[in-house]
Symmetry: C2
Subunit: 281 residues, 2 copies
């Protein structure tokens, strides 16, 4: 496994793989790798000649009062996991080299960046779209892998590559969950024991909503109320939003049309958690 | 010479050239090709295995009251000139395919997009940066060629590729001029006979400023006044700006440091003309 920190070296290595006709699969991460990331790596390993993982806690996607400084980091552990997962290259850029120019260049995906997570975290998705565009230009992958846990991010990245004609396939993989249903997330490390137990309510609420819909309930306002009631059983949990939306446009749905996504964001103490479920009739 | 209109076909053709190790030089244009474009094409032809020219009047870089509809077009003439210039591929995209997504994706180069041309034409450089990023993702060139006549645009595109780590060399070539000094521009076609004669004052003003500086004048406010006085000799010419700036940052200079650029924008009737000169001591 090769560790590359220099941007132009990464580009040269990517060019040489491409000249040899070898196809590059890319898993961009912020590190502190968990089973969700590892499942993306395994999938990339099966499909591609070369697997590149980037580890970069991207400062520009954090708001000034957010958790950039305390975001969990474990470089040695991450490198060991990448090596065990058969990764060819870990790209570990330096924040100073990533954001060195005098005038900022930013990429914006309009409208869908301003709702849900984007409404609560202004500028977050501009930071995400910008760093993903940069990483794609540096790693030059044929495909990139993202977890469905960050559903809105997945849709924004699909819009990004379509809107700017970036020739990278976006592969979305299912959310990986703990045994009790909690979606894997690096931020789960923030939870104390009590919060960790309380967090299981999110998947229970989403699963019962899925059950309701599959058993024939059509009124999405009713479904939404049931999710809210379930979540509110946990004292100390605050709801940021519960949204039932069209899977492509992320526009709210009053009733099931073809298929839909339910997205939930809550706060437990100082920790924000998000999750979602994609439901077909 | 191959004419390609489909975005994904252009990407496939570019991929296959790159797999063969052939290097692609790219000249993006809005068509109505003049000697300025042709000198870029000749230069690309000398340096690269494959020369791609795009012809696309980019709607999103025009303001609502600007000249998008009447911008001069001559597809047959352009294709003949490309063929004569030894161009391998002309990329002729359709505006509907270029801007088909529901939510706009835009690229912004902050600060330097908001001064001079950007102050007079709000959103112009966001439109330029966005279409250039798109074209680079479609044509996949190793280098792209731009004329110095659009000096601010050149600097913005250099910032764009640096800021987003786009692996394309930006080659800036000197402004090509008519015999009487007027900078070649597709918009010169708008000028009537009287305006065309009046337009020669721009190059005279810039040349005498260069002469002043090279003869030792240090005070840039004095130089600026002299340019203004020269331009004002032409009745019916309105000055949008006269700026003496640092070549890289585009920040105003009070005195000559290493080298500088003087940029001028004027209106003659309904036609806006820009020009500039880069001066070393």
């Amino acid at each position: 496994m090769n560790i590359i920190t220099d941007i132009s070296e990464m580009q040269k290595v990517a060019d040489s793989f491409r000249l040899q006709g070898r196809r590059i699969g890319f898993v961009p991460t912020m590190g502190f790798l968990h089973e969700g990331h590892l499942s993306l790596i395994r999938h990339a390993r099966q499909m591609f000649d070369i697997v590149v993982v980037s580890i970069f806690v991207n400062p520009i996607q954090f708001g000034p009062s957010e958790d950039f400084d305390r975001y969990p980091r474990d470089e040695d552990g991450d490198l060991a996991k990448c090596k065990a997962g058969g990764v060819d290259i870990v790209f570990l850029p330096d924040a100073k080299e990533m954001y060195s120019t005098q005038d900022a260049v930013t990429v914006s995906v309009e409208r869908i960046s301003d709702i849900m997570e984007g409404a609560i975290r202004p500028g977050h998705y501009r930071g995400v779209a910008t760093v993903v565009a940069k990483l794609f230009h540096i790693v030059k992958p044929h495909a990139a892998f993202f977890g469905q846990k960050d559903y809105q991010q997945c849709i924004i990245i699909k819009r990004l590559v379509k809107g700017l004609n970036i020739d990278v396939d976006i592969v979305i993989r299912p959310t990986v969950r703990e045994a009790d249903g909690l979606a894997m997330s690096s931020r789960n490390a923030y939870l104390n024991e009590k919060e960790r137990r309380a967090a299981t309510v999110i998947f229970r609420a989403l699963s019962s909503a899925e059950h309701l819909i599959k058993s024939g309930v059509k009124d999405m306002e009713h479904v939404r109320s049931r999710i809210q009631a379930t979540l509110q059983e946990e004292k100390g949990l605050n709801i940021d939003y519960i949204q039932i939306v069209d899977p492509d446009t992320l526009m709210p749905l009053q009733s099931m049309v073809n298929n839909l996504v339910i997205l939930v964001a809550v706060r437990l103490g100082n920790t924000r958690l998000i999750d979602n479920v994609h439901i077909w009739p």
